[in-house]
Protein backbone atom coordinates (compact mmCIF):
# COMPACT_ATOMS: atom_id res chain seq x y z
CA UNK A 1 0.00 0.00 0.00
CA UNK A 2 1.35 3.35 -1.00
CA UNK A 3 1.49 5.93 1.75
CA UNK A 4 -0.72 8.88 1.03
CA UNK A 5 0.34 11.99 2.85
CA UNK A 6 -2.08 14.54 4.19
CA UNK A 7 0.57 16.82 5.61
CA UNK A 8 4.28 17.05 5.88
CA UNK A 9 6.28 18.88 8.53
CA UNK A 10 9.60 20.14 7.33
CA UNK A 11 12.33 21.60 9.50
CA UNK A 12 9.86 23.11 11.87
CA UNK A 13 11.24 25.30 14.62
CA UNK A 14 9.03 27.06 17.07
CA UNK A 15 9.83 29.76 19.60
CA UNK A 16 7.94 31.10 22.59
CA UNK A 17 9.61 34.49 22.54
CA UNK A 18 13.24 33.60 22.97
CA UNK A 19 12.61 30.06 24.20
CA UNK A 20 12.83 27.46 21.47
CA UNK A 21 10.18 24.83 22.14
CA UNK A 22 10.43 22.78 18.92
CA UNK A 23 13.64 21.92 17.15
CA UNK A 24 13.99 20.94 13.53
CA UNK A 25 10.98 18.73 13.39
CA UNK A 26 10.36 16.59 10.32
CA UNK A 27 7.30 14.41 10.23
CA UNK A 28 4.91 12.97 7.67
CA UNK A 29 1.22 12.83 8.55
CA UNK A 30 -0.60 10.11 6.71
CA UNK A 31 -4.06 10.57 5.31
CA UNK A 32 -6.91 8.93 7.19
CA UNK A 33 -4.67 7.52 9.82
CA UNK A 34 -4.25 8.31 13.50
CA UNK A 35 -0.84 9.68 14.38
CA UNK A 36 -0.05 9.83 18.08
CA UNK A 37 2.46 12.10 19.78
CA UNK A 38 3.86 10.82 23.03
CA UNK A 39 6.62 11.98 25.30
CA UNK A 40 7.29 13.19 28.83
CA UNK A 41 5.65 16.29 30.21
CA UNK A 42 7.00 19.49 28.72
CA UNK A 43 8.57 17.87 25.70
CA UNK A 44 6.55 19.99 23.28
CA UNK A 45 3.66 17.77 22.21
CA UNK A 46 1.01 20.41 22.74
CA UNK A 47 3.20 23.06 21.21
CA UNK A 48 3.67 20.98 18.11
CA UNK A 49 0.00 20.13 17.75
CA UNK A 50 -1.03 23.76 18.05
CA UNK A 51 1.18 24.69 15.13
CA UNK A 52 -1.18 22.81 12.82
CA UNK A 53 -4.05 25.20 13.33
CA UNK A 54 -1.97 28.26 14.01
CA UNK A 55 -3.25 28.46 17.59
CA UNK A 56 -0.01 30.12 18.60
CA UNK A 57 -0.98 33.17 16.55
CA UNK A 58 -3.38 34.10 19.34
CA UNK A 59 -0.56 35.07 21.64
CA UNK A 60 2.18 37.57 21.00
CA UNK A 61 5.89 36.81 20.62
CA UNK A 62 5.40 33.33 19.17
CA UNK A 63 7.40 32.51 16.05
CA UNK A 64 7.36 29.67 13.53
CA UNK A 65 10.16 28.64 11.22
CA UNK A 66 10.07 25.96 8.54
CA UNK A 67 7.04 24.49 6.80
CA UNK A 68 3.97 22.43 7.37
CA UNK A 69 2.77 21.50 3.88
CA UNK A 70 -0.89 20.61 3.58
CA UNK A 71 -1.73 18.20 0.78
CA UNK A 72 -3.18 18.10 -1.82
CA UNK A 73 -3.22 21.93 -2.05
CA UNK A 74 0.46 22.05 -1.32
CA UNK A 75 0.24 25.17 0.81
CA UNK A 76 2.44 25.95 3.78
CA UNK A 77 0.01 26.48 6.65
CA UNK A 78 2.49 28.26 8.85
CA UNK A 79 3.69 30.78 6.31
CA UNK A 80 2.89 34.36 7.31
CA UNK A 81 1.05 34.83 4.03
CA UNK A 82 -1.41 32.16 5.01
CA UNK A 83 -4.45 33.47 6.80
CA UNK A 84 -4.74 31.63 10.12
CA UNK A 85 -8.52 31.74 9.93
CA UNK A 86 -8.40 29.90 6.64
CA UNK A 87 -6.16 27.29 8.19
CA UNK A 88 -8.46 26.82 11.13
CA UNK A 89 -11.44 26.43 8.85
CA UNK A 90 -9.82 23.28 7.51
CA UNK A 91 -8.09 21.92 10.58
CA UNK A 92 -10.17 21.49 13.69
CA UNK A 93 -9.11 20.83 17.24
CA UNK A 94 -10.42 19.09 20.32
CA UNK A 95 -8.92 20.27 23.58
CA UNK A 96 -7.71 18.62 26.73
CA UNK A 97 -10.53 19.95 28.86
CA UNK A 98 -13.97 19.86 27.25
CA UNK A 99 -14.71 23.50 26.42
CA UNK A 100 -18.26 23.80 25.11
CA UNK A 101 -19.62 27.32 24.67
CA UNK A 102 -22.20 28.61 27.11
CA UNK A 103 -24.89 27.96 24.54
CA UNK A 104 -27.34 25.21 23.73
CA UNK A 105 -26.13 21.84 22.50
CA UNK A 106 -27.51 22.68 19.09
CA UNK A 107 -25.79 26.04 18.88
CA UNK A 108 -22.51 24.54 19.97
CA UNK A 109 -22.49 22.21 17.04
CA UNK A 110 -23.85 24.82 14.64
CA UNK A 111 -21.28 27.39 15.72
CA UNK A 112 -18.66 26.58 13.12
CA UNK A 113 -21.25 26.71 10.37
CA UNK A 114 -22.64 30.01 11.55
CA UNK A 115 -19.13 31.39 11.60
CA UNK A 116 -18.90 30.33 7.99
CA UNK A 117 -22.06 32.25 7.21
CA UNK A 118 -24.48 29.34 7.07
CA UNK A 119 -27.80 30.31 8.56
CA UNK A 120 -30.40 28.22 6.72
CA UNK A 121 -32.23 26.22 9.33
CA UNK A 122 -32.51 23.05 7.26
CA UNK A 123 -28.84 22.97 6.43
CA UNK A 124 -27.94 23.53 10.05
CA UNK A 125 -30.41 20.95 11.32
CA UNK A 126 -29.06 18.34 9.00
CA UNK A 127 -25.44 19.09 9.74
CA UNK A 128 -25.98 19.18 13.49
CA UNK A 129 -27.66 15.79 13.44
CA UNK A 130 -25.03 14.29 11.24
CA UNK A 131 -22.19 15.58 13.39
CA UNK A 132 -23.80 14.47 16.62
CA UNK A 133 -24.32 11.05 15.13
CA UNK A 134 -20.72 11.06 13.99
CA UNK A 135 -19.67 11.78 17.56
CA UNK A 136 -22.00 9.05 18.86
CA UNK A 137 -23.88 11.54 20.93
CA UNK A 138 -27.09 11.91 18.99
CA UNK A 139 -29.12 9.34 20.85
CA UNK A 140 -28.18 10.80 24.21
CA UNK A 141 -29.07 14.40 23.39
CA UNK A 142 -31.59 14.36 20.57
CA UNK A 143 -34.44 15.23 22.94
CA UNK A 144 -32.71 18.15 24.54
CA UNK A 145 -30.86 19.97 21.82
CA UNK A 146 -31.90 23.26 23.40
CA UNK A 147 -30.42 22.49 26.76
CA UNK A 148 -27.28 24.25 27.83
CA UNK A 149 -24.17 22.27 26.92
CA UNK A 150 -22.93 22.65 30.49
CA UNK A 151 -25.67 20.27 31.61
CA UNK A 152 -23.89 17.37 29.92
CA UNK A 153 -21.41 15.11 31.71
CA UNK A 154 -17.70 15.59 31.07
CA UNK A 155 -17.53 12.74 28.60
CA UNK A 156 -20.60 13.96 26.77
CA UNK A 157 -19.17 17.45 26.66
CA UNK A 158 -16.01 16.13 25.10
CA UNK A 159 -18.00 14.27 22.47
CA UNK A 160 -19.97 17.44 21.88
CA UNK A 161 -16.70 19.22 21.22
CA UNK A 162 -15.82 16.50 18.75
CA UNK A 163 -19.20 16.91 17.05
CA UNK A 164 -18.60 20.64 16.94
CA UNK A 165 -15.28 20.04 15.24
CA UNK A 166 -16.77 17.51 12.82
CA UNK A 167 -19.59 19.79 11.72
CA UNK A 168 -17.29 21.82 9.52
CA UNK A 169 -15.84 18.84 7.67
CA UNK A 170 -12.24 19.40 8.70
CA UNK A 171 -9.44 17.83 6.76
CA UNK A 172 -7.40 17.19 9.84
CA UNK A 173 -8.64 16.74 13.38
CA UNK A 174 -6.27 17.54 16.23
CA UNK A 175 -6.73 16.02 19.69
CA UNK A 176 -4.76 17.28 22.68
CA UNK A 177 -5.05 14.73 25.47
CA UNK A 178 -8.77 14.54 24.88
CA UNK A 179 -9.46 12.07 27.67
CA UNK A 180 -7.20 13.26 30.43
CA UNK A 181 -10.11 14.96 32.20
CA UNK A 182 -12.44 12.00 31.82
CA UNK A 183 -13.26 8.84 33.70
CA UNK A 184 -12.40 5.40 32.26
CA UNK A 185 -15.83 4.73 30.73
CA UNK A 186 -15.94 8.07 28.95
CA UNK A 187 -12.35 7.56 27.85
CA UNK A 188 -13.22 4.26 26.28
CA UNK A 189 -16.06 5.82 24.30
CA UNK A 190 -13.88 8.57 22.95
CA UNK A 191 -11.18 6.11 21.99
CA UNK A 192 -13.66 4.01 20.05
CA UNK A 193 -14.89 7.14 18.37
CA UNK A 194 -11.40 8.15 17.29
CA UNK A 195 -10.77 4.78 15.75
CA UNK A 196 -13.99 5.12 13.82
CA UNK A 197 -13.38 8.68 12.72
CA UNK A 198 -10.16 7.88 10.97
CA UNK A 199 -12.17 6.44 8.13
CA UNK A 200 -13.17 9.95 7.25
CA UNK A 201 -10.53 12.30 8.54
CA UNK A 202 -6.86 12.48 9.31
CA UNK A 203 -6.19 12.55 13.01
CA UNK A 204 -3.28 13.68 15.15
CA UNK A 205 -3.53 12.94 18.84
CA UNK A 206 -1.39 13.96 21.78
CA UNK A 207 -1.51 11.71 24.78
CA UNK A 208 0.48 11.04 27.89
CA UNK A 209 -1.15 7.68 28.26
CA UNK A 210 0.89 5.13 26.37
CA UNK A 211 -1.81 2.51 26.53
CA UNK A 212 -4.07 4.94 24.78
CA UNK A 213 -1.53 5.63 22.04
CA UNK A 214 -1.12 1.91 21.56
CA UNK A 215 -4.88 1.38 21.40
CA UNK A 216 -5.88 4.07 18.94
CA UNK A 217 -3.00 5.12 16.74
CA UNK A 218 -1.50 3.80 13.54
CA UNK A 219 1.69 5.79 13.81
CA UNK A 220 3.43 7.12 16.86
CA UNK A 221 6.05 9.81 17.27
CA UNK A 222 8.04 9.97 20.47
CA UNK A 223 9.11 13.47 21.38
CA UNK A 224 11.72 14.54 23.85
CA UNK A 225 12.96 18.04 24.65
CA UNK A 226 11.30 19.56 21.61
CA UNK A 227 12.59 17.02 19.14
CA UNK A 228 11.12 13.97 17.49
CA UNK A 229 13.27 11.11 18.74
CA UNK A 230 11.54 8.33 16.90
CA UNK A 231 8.65 7.94 14.51
CA UNK A 232 7.22 4.66 13.29
CA UNK A 233 4.23 2.39 13.05
CA UNK A 234 2.68 2.21 16.49
CA UNK A 235 3.17 -1.51 17.00
CA UNK A 236 6.78 -1.20 16.05
CA UNK A 237 7.38 1.65 18.50
CA UNK A 238 5.79 -0.27 21.32
CA UNK A 239 7.33 -3.62 20.65
CA UNK A 240 10.69 -2.82 19.18
CA UNK A 241 11.73 0.78 19.62
CA UNK A 242 15.00 1.52 17.93
CA UNK A 243 16.00 4.28 20.28
CA UNK A 244 17.09 3.67 23.85
CA UNK A 245 15.30 6.76 25.15
CA UNK A 246 12.02 5.65 23.62
CA UNK A 247 12.40 2.27 25.19
CA UNK A 248 13.09 3.67 28.60
CA UNK A 249 10.12 5.94 28.34
CA UNK A 250 7.79 3.23 27.16
CA UNK A 251 8.80 0.84 29.87
CA UNK A 252 8.20 3.52 32.43
CA UNK A 253 11.73 3.93 33.54
CA UNK A 254 11.53 7.69 33.30
CA UNK A 255 8.93 10.43 32.96
Amino acid sequence: MVKELKAEVKKLNFYYGRVQALKEINLPIERRKVSALIGPSGCGKTTFLRCFNRMHDLYPHNRYEGEIILHPDNVNIISPQMDPIEVRMQISMVFQKPNPFPKSIYENVAYGLRVRGVSKREVLDEKVEKSLRGAVLWDEVKDRLNHLAFDLSGGQQQRLCIARALATNPRILLFDEPTSALDPTATLKIEELIVELKNEVTIIIVTHNMQQAARVSDYTAFMYLGEIVEYDKTDRIFTAPSNKLTEEYITGRFG
Binding site: N53, M55, L58, P60, I85, E86, R88, M89, S92, M93, F95, Q96, K97, N99, P100, F101, P102, K103, Y111, G112, R114, V115, R116, C161, R164, A165, T168
Partner: protein, 296 residues
Protein backbone atom coordinates in the same frame (compact mmCIF):
# COMPACT_ATOMS: atom_id res chain seq x y z
CA UNK B 1 -1.00 23.30 79.18
CA UNK B 2 -0.92 26.88 80.40
CA UNK B 3 0.61 27.98 77.13
CA UNK B 4 -2.22 26.35 75.31
CA UNK B 5 -4.72 28.25 77.42
CA UNK B 6 -3.13 31.66 76.94
CA UNK B 7 -2.89 30.90 73.25
CA UNK B 8 -6.56 30.11 73.10
CA UNK B 9 -7.49 33.28 74.99
CA UNK B 10 -5.32 35.44 72.76
CA UNK B 11 -6.68 33.86 69.60
CA UNK B 12 -10.22 34.28 70.86
CA UNK B 13 -9.71 37.91 71.76
CA UNK B 14 -8.25 38.72 68.38
CA UNK B 15 -11.02 36.95 66.58
CA UNK B 16 -13.57 38.89 68.59
CA UNK B 17 -11.98 42.20 67.69
CA UNK B 18 -11.86 41.28 64.01
CA UNK B 19 -15.43 40.06 64.13
CA UNK B 20 -16.63 43.29 65.69
CA UNK B 21 -14.90 45.23 62.94
CA UNK B 22 -16.71 43.19 60.33
CA UNK B 23 -19.93 43.62 62.21
CA UNK B 24 -19.45 47.38 62.28
CA UNK B 25 -20.54 47.47 58.66
CA UNK B 26 -23.84 45.99 59.70
CA UNK B 27 -24.16 48.68 62.35
CA UNK B 28 -23.58 51.30 59.71
CA UNK B 29 -26.37 49.91 57.60
CA UNK B 30 -28.63 49.65 60.59
CA UNK B 31 -27.91 53.22 61.56
CA UNK B 32 -28.59 54.38 58.01
CA UNK B 33 -31.92 52.62 58.08
CA UNK B 34 -32.75 53.80 61.59
CA UNK B 35 -31.75 57.40 60.96
CA UNK B 36 -33.54 57.60 57.64
CA UNK B 37 -36.68 55.91 58.90
CA UNK B 38 -36.78 57.82 62.14
CA UNK B 39 -36.44 61.19 60.50
CA UNK B 40 -38.74 60.40 57.61
CA UNK B 41 -41.23 58.96 60.08
CA UNK B 42 -41.54 62.49 61.43
CA UNK B 43 -42.07 63.62 57.88
CA UNK B 44 -44.78 61.09 57.17
CA UNK B 45 -46.61 62.11 60.30
CA UNK B 46 -47.16 65.44 58.65
CA UNK B 47 -47.42 64.33 55.05
CA UNK B 48 -49.53 61.35 54.08
CA UNK B 49 -47.60 58.68 52.21
CA UNK B 50 -50.13 58.77 49.41
CA UNK B 51 -49.52 62.43 48.79
CA UNK B 52 -45.78 61.82 48.89
CA UNK B 53 -45.92 59.04 46.35
CA UNK B 54 -48.51 60.43 43.98
CA UNK B 55 -48.20 64.21 44.25
CA UNK B 56 -46.91 65.77 41.09
CA UNK B 57 -45.35 68.85 42.66
CA UNK B 58 -42.45 69.19 45.05
CA UNK B 59 -42.25 72.60 46.71
CA UNK B 60 -41.72 71.75 50.36
CA UNK B 61 -40.16 75.07 51.32
CA UNK B 62 -42.91 77.33 50.03
CA UNK B 63 -45.70 79.03 51.86
CA UNK B 64 -48.10 76.44 50.43
CA UNK B 65 -45.85 73.41 50.42
CA UNK B 66 -46.45 70.46 48.08
CA UNK B 67 -44.86 67.15 48.89
CA UNK B 68 -45.05 65.01 45.78
CA UNK B 69 -41.77 63.15 45.32
CA UNK B 70 -42.54 62.16 41.71
CA UNK B 71 -40.72 65.10 40.09
CA UNK B 72 -37.53 64.22 41.96
CA UNK B 73 -37.84 60.55 41.07
CA UNK B 74 -38.53 61.34 37.44
CA UNK B 75 -35.59 63.72 37.39
CA UNK B 76 -33.37 61.04 38.88
CA UNK B 77 -34.54 58.43 36.42
CA UNK B 78 -34.27 60.77 33.45
CA UNK B 79 -30.67 61.72 34.16
CA UNK B 80 -29.79 58.15 35.04
CA UNK B 81 -31.22 56.95 31.73
CA UNK B 82 -29.24 59.50 29.76
CA UNK B 83 -26.09 58.54 31.61
CA UNK B 84 -26.72 54.88 30.93
CA UNK B 85 -27.44 55.42 27.26
CA UNK B 86 -23.97 56.91 27.08
CA UNK B 87 -22.15 54.65 29.51
CA UNK B 88 -23.45 51.18 28.78
CA UNK B 89 -22.65 50.89 25.06
CA UNK B 90 -19.42 52.83 25.34
CA UNK B 91 -18.37 50.99 28.48
CA UNK B 92 -19.14 47.59 27.02
CA UNK B 93 -17.43 48.36 23.72
CA UNK B 94 -14.41 49.66 25.56
CA UNK B 95 -14.38 46.55 27.73
CA UNK B 96 -14.51 44.27 24.69
CA UNK B 97 -11.78 46.27 23.07
CA UNK B 98 -9.57 46.17 26.13
CA UNK B 99 -10.15 42.53 26.88
CA UNK B 100 -10.06 41.08 23.36
CA UNK B 101 -8.30 43.51 21.05
CA UNK B 102 -5.92 45.84 22.81
CA UNK B 103 -2.31 44.77 22.93
CA UNK B 104 -1.28 43.96 26.47
CA UNK B 105 0.92 47.02 26.86
CA UNK B 106 -1.73 49.42 25.62
CA UNK B 107 -4.24 47.88 27.99
CA UNK B 108 -1.90 48.21 30.93
CA UNK B 109 -1.60 51.90 30.15
CA UNK B 110 -5.18 52.70 29.21
CA UNK B 111 -6.93 50.92 32.05
CA UNK B 112 -5.46 52.93 34.90
CA UNK B 113 -5.89 56.15 32.97
CA UNK B 114 -9.49 55.29 32.30
CA UNK B 115 -9.96 54.62 35.98
CA UNK B 116 -8.77 58.15 36.65
CA UNK B 117 -12.06 59.29 35.16
CA UNK B 118 -13.70 58.00 38.29
CA UNK B 119 -11.16 59.82 40.42
CA UNK B 120 -11.86 63.33 39.18
CA UNK B 121 -13.83 65.24 41.82
CA UNK B 122 -17.41 65.43 40.69
CA UNK B 123 -17.59 69.16 41.36
CA UNK B 124 -15.16 69.56 38.50
CA UNK B 125 -17.44 67.55 36.24
CA UNK B 126 -20.41 69.62 37.31
CA UNK B 127 -18.90 72.89 36.18
CA UNK B 128 -17.54 71.27 33.09
CA UNK B 129 -21.05 70.18 32.16
CA UNK B 130 -22.49 73.59 32.90
CA UNK B 131 -19.84 75.84 31.44
CA UNK B 132 -18.35 73.73 28.67
CA UNK B 133 -20.73 71.10 27.41
CA UNK B 134 -24.05 72.92 27.70
CA UNK B 135 -22.95 75.87 25.53
CA UNK B 136 -21.66 73.44 22.91
CA UNK B 137 -24.89 71.48 22.96
CA UNK B 138 -26.86 74.69 22.66
CA UNK B 139 -25.20 75.34 19.32
CA UNK B 140 -26.80 72.15 18.01
CA UNK B 141 -30.02 72.25 20.01
CA UNK B 142 -31.16 75.86 20.16
CA UNK B 143 -34.09 74.90 22.41
CA UNK B 144 -31.85 73.59 25.11
CA UNK B 145 -32.18 75.57 28.30
CA UNK B 146 -29.10 76.63 30.21
CA UNK B 147 -29.86 73.99 32.79
CA UNK B 148 -30.98 70.68 31.46
CA UNK B 149 -30.89 66.99 32.09
CA UNK B 150 -28.98 66.23 28.93
CA UNK B 151 -25.63 67.80 29.61
CA UNK B 152 -25.03 66.45 33.13
CA UNK B 153 -26.46 63.14 31.94
CA UNK B 154 -23.85 62.87 29.20
CA UNK B 155 -20.99 63.90 31.46
CA UNK B 156 -22.13 61.48 34.12
CA UNK B 157 -22.34 58.78 31.48
CA UNK B 158 -18.75 59.31 30.47
CA UNK B 159 -17.76 59.51 34.10
CA UNK B 160 -19.17 56.08 34.89
CA UNK B 161 -17.66 54.41 31.82
CA UNK B 162 -14.75 53.10 33.90
CA UNK B 163 -17.09 51.49 36.41
CA UNK B 164 -18.88 49.70 33.60
CA UNK B 165 -15.85 48.87 31.51
CA UNK B 166 -13.60 47.81 34.31
CA UNK B 167 -15.98 45.34 35.91
CA UNK B 168 -17.10 44.04 32.49
CA UNK B 169 -13.52 43.63 31.47
CA UNK B 170 -12.74 41.74 34.65
CA UNK B 171 -15.66 39.46 33.93
CA UNK B 172 -14.51 38.88 30.36
CA UNK B 173 -10.98 38.24 31.49
CA UNK B 174 -12.31 35.65 33.89
CA UNK B 175 -13.62 33.69 30.91
CA UNK B 176 -11.00 30.98 30.59
CA UNK B 177 -8.80 31.13 27.56
CA UNK B 178 -9.71 27.61 26.54
CA UNK B 179 -13.27 28.70 25.82
CA UNK B 180 -11.94 31.37 23.46
CA UNK B 181 -9.55 28.90 21.91
CA UNK B 182 -12.53 26.67 21.19
CA UNK B 183 -14.02 29.44 19.15
CA UNK B 184 -10.85 30.46 17.35
CA UNK B 185 -10.18 26.84 16.52
CA UNK B 186 -13.48 26.84 14.63
CA UNK B 187 -12.18 29.62 12.40
CA UNK B 188 -13.95 32.47 14.16
CA UNK B 189 -12.62 36.03 14.15
CA UNK B 190 -12.08 38.10 17.26
CA UNK B 191 -15.38 39.88 16.75
CA UNK B 192 -17.30 36.63 16.47
CA UNK B 193 -15.50 35.17 19.44
CA UNK B 194 -16.10 38.28 21.52
CA UNK B 195 -19.79 38.61 20.84
CA UNK B 196 -20.82 34.98 20.42
CA UNK B 197 -18.72 33.35 23.08
CA UNK B 198 -17.02 35.74 25.48
CA UNK B 199 -19.92 38.08 26.18
CA UNK B 200 -22.43 35.28 26.77
CA UNK B 201 -19.93 33.55 29.06
CA UNK B 202 -19.32 36.73 31.02
CA UNK B 203 -22.97 37.65 31.04
CA UNK B 204 -23.58 37.86 34.75
CA UNK B 205 -20.41 39.87 35.29
CA UNK B 206 -21.41 42.32 32.61
CA UNK B 207 -24.86 42.59 34.12
CA UNK B 208 -23.24 43.31 37.46
CA UNK B 209 -21.16 46.04 35.84
CA UNK B 210 -24.29 47.58 34.40
CA UNK B 211 -25.97 47.47 37.77
CA UNK B 212 -23.00 49.18 39.38
CA UNK B 213 -23.23 51.84 36.70
CA UNK B 214 -26.93 52.36 37.36
CA UNK B 215 -26.41 52.56 41.07
CA UNK B 216 -23.60 55.12 40.62
CA UNK B 217 -25.71 57.20 38.31
CA UNK B 218 -28.65 57.27 40.69
CA UNK B 219 -26.45 58.29 43.57
CA UNK B 220 -24.33 60.88 41.81
CA UNK B 221 -24.83 64.28 43.34
CA UNK B 222 -22.65 67.23 42.49
CA UNK B 223 -22.80 66.98 38.71
CA UNK B 224 -26.57 67.25 38.73
CA UNK B 225 -26.71 69.70 41.59
CA UNK B 226 -24.62 72.08 39.54
CA UNK B 227 -25.67 71.52 35.96
CA UNK B 228 -29.23 70.21 35.93
CA UNK B 229 -30.95 73.24 37.43
CA UNK B 230 -32.71 72.96 40.74
CA UNK B 231 -36.17 72.58 39.34
CA UNK B 232 -38.39 69.71 40.44
CA UNK B 233 -39.93 69.01 37.09
CA UNK B 234 -42.11 66.06 36.21
CA UNK B 235 -40.91 65.62 32.67
CA UNK B 236 -39.26 63.15 30.36
CA UNK B 237 -37.80 65.87 28.19
CA UNK B 238 -34.01 65.86 28.49
CA UNK B 239 -33.83 69.46 27.26
CA UNK B 240 -35.54 70.81 30.35
CA UNK B 241 -34.08 71.51 33.75
CA UNK B 242 -34.79 68.92 36.40
CA UNK B 243 -33.86 68.14 39.96
CA UNK B 244 -32.78 64.77 41.27
CA UNK B 245 -33.18 63.36 44.76
CA UNK B 246 -29.51 63.90 45.46
CA UNK B 247 -29.49 67.43 44.09
CA UNK B 248 -32.45 68.31 46.26
CA UNK B 249 -30.69 67.09 49.36
CA UNK B 250 -27.60 69.13 48.55
CA UNK B 251 -29.64 72.20 47.66
CA UNK B 252 -31.33 72.15 51.03
CA UNK B 253 -28.13 71.29 52.84
CA UNK B 254 -26.40 74.23 51.21
CA UNK B 255 -28.81 76.44 53.07
CA UNK B 256 -28.21 74.58 56.35
CA UNK B 257 -30.60 71.99 57.64
CA UNK B 258 -31.95 73.13 60.98
CA UNK B 259 -32.85 70.20 63.17
CA UNK B 260 -36.47 69.28 63.48
CA UNK B 261 -37.97 71.53 60.83
CA UNK B 262 -39.97 70.23 57.92
CA UNK B 263 -37.23 70.98 55.40
CA UNK B 264 -34.89 68.96 57.58
CA UNK B 265 -37.32 66.08 57.43
CA UNK B 266 -37.84 66.36 53.68
CA UNK B 267 -34.22 65.62 52.98
CA UNK B 268 -34.52 62.43 54.97
CA UNK B 269 -37.66 61.44 53.12
CA UNK B 270 -35.75 62.07 49.88
CA UNK B 271 -32.72 60.27 51.29
CA UNK B 272 -34.85 57.27 52.20
CA UNK B 273 -36.27 57.11 48.69
CA UNK B 274 -32.78 57.31 47.26
CA UNK B 275 -31.46 54.66 49.60
CA UNK B 276 -34.24 52.26 48.73
CA UNK B 277 -33.72 52.81 45.01
CA UNK B 278 -30.01 52.04 45.18
CA UNK B 279 -30.52 49.21 47.66
CA UNK B 280 -32.46 47.21 45.11
CA UNK B 281 -29.77 47.60 42.47
CA UNK B 282 -26.95 46.95 44.89
CA UNK B 283 -28.40 43.68 45.99
CA UNK B 284 -29.04 42.51 42.45
CA UNK B 285 -25.47 43.49 41.61
CA UNK B 286 -24.14 41.56 44.58
CA UNK B 287 -25.81 38.33 43.56
CA UNK B 288 -24.70 38.71 39.98
CA UNK B 289 -21.10 39.25 40.99
CA UNK B 290 -21.25 36.33 43.34
CA UNK B 291 -22.41 34.21 40.44
CA UNK B 292 -19.43 35.05 38.28
CA UNK B 293 -17.11 34.11 41.07
CA UNK B 294 -18.76 30.72 41.30
CA UNK B 295 -18.97 30.15 37.56
CA UNK B 296 -15.38 29.08 36.92
Amino acid sequence: MKRKLTRKIKEGAIETILFLSALSSVFITISIVVVLSYESFGFFKEVPLIEFLTGREWTPLFAEPKFGILPLISGTLLITSIALIVALPLGLTAAVYLSEYAPHRLKEIIKPILELLAAVPTVVYGYFALLFLTPILQKFIPDLSGFNALSPGIIMGIMIIPYVSSVSEDAMRAVPMHIREGSYAMGATKLQTAFKVVIPSAFSGIAAAFIIGISRAIGETMVVAIAAGGMPNLTANPLEPVQTLTAYIVAVSLGDVPHGTIEYKTIFAAGMTLFLMTLVFNIIGFWLRKRIREAY
